[in-house]
């Protein structure tokens, strides 16, 4: 019955206990005795004099702890700020040092180099993509040439584009396995703005679309043919 403190009892249990104590003289006396003894022990338990000046010593000590904690916080924040600044300066420096200078002369030299090595660059590009290096036509890649991917009937396929004056030629390189091949559809053709020439070689279909009258304007001059 007295194992619990009143603060640990629910309202129902407390009411039940009070009802019992109200009707049971023995338990009521035991409870009174229990409370009285507990009260005497509690008084003795708390009879501990606090040393004079202890509060002031505590406050001084706590202020010291606060100062140290504040210094640590400031030092930590300063450290992080310095690190962040160093990273920022590093990135800014890297961006500044690696930023290229616009230079018309250097750009011209680069273009010269591209033209000079164009005939070697395109076969290298083909090789990188697992395509035959040898094309069915002997294109002159010294003229402005672009390589990439283009859409042919909704499929992405490698494409080479050549520009000669007002004329443009696109060379689509399609794997035969990726398309339905019908011989009657694979014929040279002409539309209102361009012509189409087809070549099949080594499992690939080369679809050349060009705006000039003949494909010759995109081929190497006769004296330079390999």
């Amino acid at each position: 019955m007295l194992a619990f403190r009143r603060s640990d009892l629910t309202a129902e249990d407390a009411a039940s206990l009070d009802a019992h104590l109200g009707g049971c003289a023995a338990c009521s006396a035991a409870a009174r005795r229990e409370i009285a003894v507990d009260s005497r022990i509690a008084s003795a338990m708390t009879a501990v004099p606090v040393p004079t000046g202890f509060r002031e010593r505590l406050v001084r000590s706590a202020e010291g702890v606060q100062r140290v904690a504040w210094r640590r916080r400031v030092a930590a924040r300063a450290g992080w700020a310095a690190l962040a600044a160093a990273v920022l300066v590093g990135f800014a420096g890297y961006a500044w040092w690696t930023k290229p200078t616009l230079d018309s002369y250097a750009a011209g030299n680069e273009f010269d180099r591209q033209i000079e090595y164009a005939n070697a660059d395109v076969p290298a590009w083909l090789k990188d993509r697992g395509l035959p290096e040898q094309l069915p036509f002997d294109f002159d890649f010294r003229m402005p040439t672009f390589t990439g991917t283009g859409q042919l009937h909704g499929r992405d396929v490698p494409v080479i584009m050549l520009v000669n004056g007002p004329h443009v030629a696109r060379v689509f390189i399609a794997r035969e396995s990726a398309f339905h091949i019908q011989p009657d559809k694979l014929i040279d053709a002409q539309t209102s703005r361009c012509k189409a020439t087809i070549a099949r070689q080594g499992g690939f279909v080369y679809v050349v679309l060009y705006t000039s009258d003949t494909l010759d304007v995109f081929l190497k001059p006769p004296g330079q043919k390999a």
Binding site: I41, M45, A47, V48, F54, R57, L58, A62
Partner: protein, 175 residues
């Protein structure tokens, strides 16, 4: 919690903390050190306290942990695990009206910390059983059991000896 200043924290709790530390350690110097260390740790961890109304049990818990850390390897104290005592006989009389605080401390010092802490918290700061269980990371049933045994031991030790010549009995001994 950040709105609570350190001075307010100290003013509100330094006296009960010191008394608790004294009853735990039995020494005024140790109690001062423990209280100071408790506030030092509390200031550093103040941001961790989510419920300002739980500051008192939080401080008491820090103090107890600090006390346990200090005495963990200290075997100088002779402690009596109450499990070894068997049945504690009921005292012939209640403790006297004026209990000598020094005698009380001597009896507390004999007890193992696992019994002393709930006893002090029970009498000292009006913690509920649930509070004590929470402080000690124990099931409430274990706290009740330890308290019942520790209280019986305390009362037996604090009560005046029965008239040995009249009934041939002696107060509990061997602590």
């Amino acid at each position: 919690m950040s709105s609570l200043s350190v001075r307010e924290l100290i003013d509100s709790h330094y006296q009960p903390l010191f008394r608790y530390a004294y009853r735990l350690s039995g020494s005024s110097a140790d109690a001062e050190d423990l209280t100071q260390e408790t506030f030092g740790k509390a200031i550093q961890r103040l941001a961790q306290l989510r419920q300002a109304e739980r500051v008192k049990p939080w401080l008491f818990r820090i103090l107890r942990n600090e006390y346990l850390r200090r005495v963990r390897d200290d075997r100088r104290h002779r402690l009596t695990p109450l499990e070894q005592l068997g049945e504690i006989p009921q005292p012939a009389a209640d403790p006297p009206a004026d209990i000598d605080p020094a005698t009380l401390q001597a009896v507390l010092n004999e007890l193992d910390e696992t019994f002393r802490t709930p006893l002090i918290l029970y009498y000292f700061e009006d913690f509920s059983y649930r509070d004590i269980a929470e402080q000690m990371d124990l099931p409430i049933g274990t706290v009740m059991s330890r308290l019942a045994r520790a209280k019986a031991h305390l009362r037996a030790k604090l009560s005046p000896p029965a008239d040995a010549s009249a009934n041939g009995r002696h107060p509990p001994d061997g602590f």
